[in-house]
C-alpha cells in the first residue's frame, strides 16, 4: 500500500508528533510562568517574548551535553527506557481527538480509552525501570516511590475515568467526546474533582510529588541521567502532564467541541481544545502551589483509605444516575 501524504502529515506534523511536541513545550512554559506568578516571581523571561522559548532552549541545551552512562548501570534499559517512555506517551496522545478526530484517521475503536490508559501505565513502568537501571541509591528510591505511587493511584484513576464512559455508554474516546452535549463535568462533578486530585498524584505533582522530593532523594530517578536522555525524561514528564490534562478535557470538558464561527472547523476545535487544556493545567498548578509535599506513607494511606472507597462510591453513583435518572432528564 503506498503511503498517503495526508496520513504522514497528520501523524508527523499536525496534529501528530511535531504539534504535540510544541504543545508540550508551550504547556511547560505556561506551567512555569503560572507557577512563578502565583509564587510572586517573574518566571522565564529571557528567551523569546515572555520567555516562551525557554523550554525549547533547555531542550536544545540538554541535547548538546555529554552523554554519560554509569559503569554499573544496566546499560540497555538505562539507554532506551526514557526514549521508549516518551514515545509511549506520544503514541497515546495520537488517540486524543485534538482537532475533532484522531491523528491517525479512523483509528478510533471501541475500548481505546482502556488502551491509552494502559499505554500510560507502561510509560510509568518504563520510568521506574530507568531509575532502577541507573544503579544509584537515590535513583532506586525515587523509582520505587514512582512505582508505589502509580500502583496505588492507577486503579482509582481508571475507575474515575469509567464514570464518563458509563454516562456516554461507550468505551471509545471519540464516543465519549461526541455524546457530551452537556460536558460531563456538570453531570458528574464529584468524579471530575476526584479525577483531577487523582491525576495530581498520577502526574507526581504537589502535594504528591514524592518521587521528586529533592531534599530527600536528590534527583530521584533522574539522578544519574544527563544530556539527551535527561531531556527525554523531562519531555516524558511534560508530555505526561499534557496527556493527563487532555484526558480531563476529553472525558469531562467536552473535548475539542465548541462554537465554530467561520473557516475550517478543525482550527476552532484545536483552539478550544488548547484553551480547555490550559484551564486544566491552571487548576493543577493552583493545587501544586497551595500545598506542601506529603510523606510517602501518608500518600499511600490517603490512597487506600480515602481515594479508593471514594472511587467505588463514585462509580456506583454514576452508574445509578446514568441508568435511572439522566434518561428522564436529558
Amino acid at each position: 500500500m503506498p503511503l498517503d501524504p495526508w496520513f504522514l502529515f497528520r501523524v508527523l506534523v499536525f496534529p501528530g508528533f511535531i504539534f504535540i511536541l510544541f504543545l508540550t513545550l508551550f504547556c511547560d512554559w505556561f506551567e512555569r510562568k503560572i507557577e512563578a506568578r502565583m509564587q510572586n516571581r517573574v518566571g522565564p523571561a529571557v528567551a523569546g517574548p515572555g520567555g516562551i522559548l525557554q523550554p525549547l532552549a533547555d531542550l536544545i541545551k540538554l541535547f548538546t551535553k555529554e552523554d554519560i552512562v554509569p559503569r554499573n548501570a544496566k546499560s540497555t534499559i538505562f539507554k532506551i527506557a526514557p526514549v521508549l517512555g516518551f514515545s509511549m506517551l506520544v503514541f497515546a496522545m495520537l488517540f486524543i481527538p485534538i482537532d475533532g478526530q484522531n491523528a491517525i484517521p479512523s483509528s478510533s475503536f471501541s475500548g481505546d480509552l482502556v488502551f491509552v490508559l494502559t499505554l500510560v501505565t507502561i510509560a510509568n513502568f518504563l520510568l521506574f525501570l530507568s531509575g532502577w537501571a541507573s544503579a544509584n541509591p537515590y535513583g532506586s528510591i525515587g523509582a520505587a516511590r514512582v512505582l508505589t505511587q502509580f500502583l496505588g493511584y492507577d486503579i482509582p484513576l481508571f475507575m474515575f475515568a469509567l464514570s464518563p464512559a458509563f454516562l456516554a455508554g461507550s468505551l471509545s474516546i471519540a464516543g465519549i467526546v461526541e455524546s457530551q452535549y452537556l460536558p460531563f463535568m456538570l453531570l458528574a462533578p464529584w468524579a471530575f474533582v476526584f479525577f483531577i486530585v487523582t491525576l495530581q498524584a498520577e502526574l507526581e505533582k504537589d502535594p504528591f510529588d514524592i518521587p521528586h522530593a529533592e531534599s530527600e532523594v536528590v534527583g530521584g530517578l533522574e539522578t544519574e541521567y544527563g544530556g539527551g536522555r535527561l531531556a527525554f525524561l523531562h519531555l516524558t514528564r511534560d508530555v505526561q502532564i499534557v496527556f493527563g490534562a487532555s484526558l480531563v478535557v476529553v472525558l469531562f470538558l467536552g473535548g475539542p467541541y465548541g462554537p465554530v464561527f467561520f473557516g475550517p472547523p478543525a482550527f476552532w476545535y484545536t483552539l478550544w481544545f488548547v484553551l480547555k487544556l490550559l484551564v486544566v493545567i491552571l487548576i493543577s498548578e493552583y493545587i501544586t502551589c497551595l500545598f506542601a509535599r506529603l510523606r510517602i506513607d501518608q500518600v499511600v494511606a490517603a490512597n487506600w483509605k480515602i481515594i479508593m472507597p471514594l472511587a467505588v462510591i463514585s462509580l456506583i453513583l454514576t452508574v445509578a444516575l446514568a441508568t435511572w435518572v439522566y434518561p428522564l432528564v436529558v
Binding site: A213, S215, A292, R293, L294, R295
Partner: protein, 527 residues
C-alpha cells in the same frame, strides 16, 4: 546574683572544703577552681542542688606546662565556670558525659584540639579534624605551627573513624557532604530499616577554618572582622559577643546610643535569620510557595541592614566601644515604615502555619524533643524554647539594651518541628516590636567611645542570644594587642545532639524537615 545562688556556692564550698576555690564575679557569675581528679564530684555536687545544670562549652587553654580546662556550666540562668588544670605530660581527665550527655561533643573537640584524653567517653574519636590529620599534633596548643603540619604530612597516621557494627538488615543512607537538603558540607550517615531511621552517625568539620587559632595571630581590631565572618547570617551576633568580652576585660562602658544601635542590628539579624529559616523549612517539606513568599519578605530586611550599616549581609558595623555608624533621624523613620509593612503581612503567615493541613501533617509530631531531653542535651535557642525550656540570654542576662526593652519570651510545649517553627514565627513579631521600641526610645549622645588597642591581662566570657540560640565567646588577653585565646561556642554545635536524638525512630522523609527546624549553620559549627 540571687541569694539562692550565693547559698548554693557557699554550700558547695563547705561540702568540697579545701578542694575548691570559689571566686565570685569571675568568668560568669563565679568561677570554681578545683583539681582534675575531682571534676566528677564537683559536677555531681552541682547537680544535687541544680538537676538542670547544663554545659555551655568546654574551653581548653594552653598554659605552658599545663593545659587548663574550663567547663562553662549553665546554672539556672547564670554561667558558672569550673576550672581544672592537667599537666601537658599526661593530659587526661574523666568524662562527664555520663552526668551531662550534652558534654559529648565538647569533650571530643577538646581531645581533637588540645590532645586531652577524656577517659570513659562513650564515643571517642575525631570530631572536627580530618581523618588524615597527623596524630600528636594538637592545633590549638601554642607550640603547634603550620610547619609541624607540613613536616608530618609525609609520615602521617590516619585514623579512619570506625563505623559502628550493624547487622546486615540496615541500609546505609548518606546525607551529605553534598546534598540538596544541606546547603553546607556536613555528613550524616543514616542507618535505615525500610523507611525508619535506626542510627545516625555525624561527621562534622568539613569546612573547619581554625578561626580560634587565626584570632590569636591577629590584633583585637582585626579579630572583630575575622570573627564576624564565622557566620554570614548572624555575623553581628558574633561580632557583638566578641567585643563584649573584650569590653569586659577593658572595663569599657558602651554609650547608651551605641547599645541601642547594636540592639537594632542584632534584631535585624534575627529577623533575617528567622524569615530565611521559615522559608527554607517550606522548601524542605516541598512547599515552594511558602519559600518564595518568605524570601520575598526577607528582602526588605536586608535593605534595612544596608541602610543602617552600609552592607546587606556582613554588616561590619560593630566596633570595640560602640558601633561604627550613627542612625539618622530619617533612616529611623524608614525602618519603622518598612517594619510596619512586614507586620501587616504576618497575620497571613500566622494563619497559614495554623491552618494549612499539609504543612501541619509534615511537621507536627516530627522530631519530638521532650523537655527533659532538651535539658539533658543542653540545647539552646528556639529549639530549647519549643520544648518548653524558658531560656533566653536576652532575659536571663540582659546585654546591650535588652534590659530596658519589654518583650515576650515565646515558648511552646510540644517540642516538635512544628513548635520550633512556630516559636520563630512568634519571635519575628517580638523582634519587630523590639526594634520599634528601641527607635522610639532612642537615647541621644555619642554612639561610640575610642578603645585602646592593647588590652590589659584578663579573661572574660560573654553570651548573646543569636537567632539560633545561645552564643558564647571566651577571650583571654595577655596584655598585648593580640589575644591569648579566643573560644567560640556556636548554637548549632550545641543543637546537633538534639537532631541525633530525635531522628532515631523517625521516618526517613522527615529527616530534612526535622534537621532544618534546628536552623543548622555549619559555617558556625566548623568555625
Amino acid at each position: 546574683m540571687p541569694d539562692s545562688d550565693q547559698d548554693f556556692l557557699r554550700t558547695l564550698q563547705e561540702t568540697m572544703g579545701e578542694n575548691v576555690q570559689v571566686t565570685a564575679g569571675h568568668l560568669g557569675k563565679a568561677s570554681i577552681k578545683s583539681k582534675p581528679e575531682l571534676i566528677k564530684q564537683v559536677v555531681q555536687a552541682i547537680q544535687r542542688d541544680e538537676p538542670t545544670a547544663a554545659i555551655t562549652a568546654i574551653t581548653g587553654l594552653d598554659l605552658g606546662e599545663n593545659i587548663g580546662i574550663m567547663y562553662h556550666t549553665r546554672l539556672r540562668h547564670n554561667l558558672v565556670t569550673l576550672i581544672v588544670e592537667v599537666p601537658k605530660t599526661k593530659p587526661s581527665i574523666e568524662s562527664i558525659t555520663d552526668l551531662i550527655p550534652g558534654a559529648n561533643f565538647h569533650e571530643r573537640e577538646l581531645t581533637d584540639l588540645f590532645g586531652v584524653t577524656v577517659e570513659g567517653h562513650p564515643s571517642p574519636g575525631r570530631l572536627v579534624l580530618p581523618e588524615g590529620w597527623p596524630i600528636g599534633l594538637y592545633p590549638l596548643r601554642k607550640d603547634a605551627k603550620i610547619e609541624n603540619l607540613q613536616e608530618s604530612q609525609s609520615s602521617q597516621g590516619s585514623t579512619t573513624p570506625k563505623e559502628p557494627e550493624t547487622d546486615g538488615k540496615l541500609v546505609n543512607i548518606i546525607i551529605g557532604p553534598q546534598h540538596p537538603a544541606l546547603l553546607e558540607p556536613e555528613k550524616f550517615s543514616l542507618k535505615v530499616d525500610g523507611e525508619i531511621v535506626r542510627q545516625v552517625v555525624p561527621r562534622i568539620g568539613y569546612v573547619h577554618r581554625g578561626v580560634e587559632k587565626a584570632a590569636e595571630q591577629r590584633t583585637y581590631l582585626q579579630d572583630v572582622y575575622l570573627i564576624e565572618r564565622i557566620c554570614g547570617i548572624c555575623n553581628s551576633c558574633h561580632a557583638t559577643t566578641f567585643v563584649e568580652a573584650v569590653e569586659k576585660i577593658l572595663g569599657t562602658e558602651v554609650p547608651a546610643r551605641g547599645k541601642y544601635i547594636r540592639t537594632i542590628i542584632l534584631e535585624l539579624n534575627r529577623l533575617h535569620s528567622h524569615l530565611l529559616l521559615l522559608g527554607h523549612a517550606g522548601l524542605e517539606i516541598g512547599y515552594e510557595t511558602l519559600f518564595q513568599y518568605m524570601w520575598r519578605d526577607r528582602e526588605p530586611i536586608m535593605d534595612l541592614t544596608e541602610l543602617l550599616t552600609g552592607n546587606r549581609v556582613v554588616s561590619s558595623s560593630i566596633a570595640i566601644g560602640g558601633v561604627r555608624r550613627d542612625v539618622k533621624e530619617t533612616d529611623s523613620e524608614k525602618i519603622k515604615a518598612e517594619l510596619a509593612k512586614l507586620t501587616k503581612k504576618l497575620p497571613f503567615y500566622q494563619n497559614l502555619f495554623e491552618n494549612e493541613p499539609t504543612l501541619k501533617m509534615r511537621t507536627q509530631n516530627v522530631g519530638k524533643l521532650s523537655k527533659e531531653d532538651a535539658t539533658k542535651l543542653c540545647v539552646v535557642g528556639p529549639v530549647a524554647r519549643a520544648s518548653g525550656v524558658e531560656f533566653d540570654i536576652r532575659k536571663d542576662e540582659p546585654y546591650e539594651a535588652y534590659g530596658e526593652i519589654p518583650f515576650k519570651l515565646i515558648t511552646r510545649q510540644e517540642g516538635d518541628t512544628y513548635a520550633r517553627l512556630m516559636v520563630r514565627l512568634g519571635e519575628i513579631t517580638e523582634s519587630i516590636n523590639i526594634i520599634t521600641y528601641a527607635l522610639e526610645h532612642f537615647p541621644t549622645g555619642p554612639y561610640r567611645i575610642r578603645a585602646p588597642r592593647t588590652v590589659p591581662k584578663g579573661e572574660a566570657v560573654s553570651r548573646v542570644e543569636a537567632p539560633r540560640g545561645e552564643l558564647m565567646h571566651y577571650v583571654r588577653s595577655n596584655g598585648t594587642a593580640y589575644p591569648e585565646r579566643v573560644k567560640v561556642r556556636t548554637p548549632t554545635f550545641a543543637n546537633i545532639p538534639a537532631f541525633l536524638k530525635t531522628a532515631i525512630g523517625g521516618n526517613l522523609a522527615d529527616v530534612p524537615a526535622n534537621f532544618v527546624s534546628l536552623d543548622p549553620c555549619f559555617s558556625c559549627t566548623d568555625r
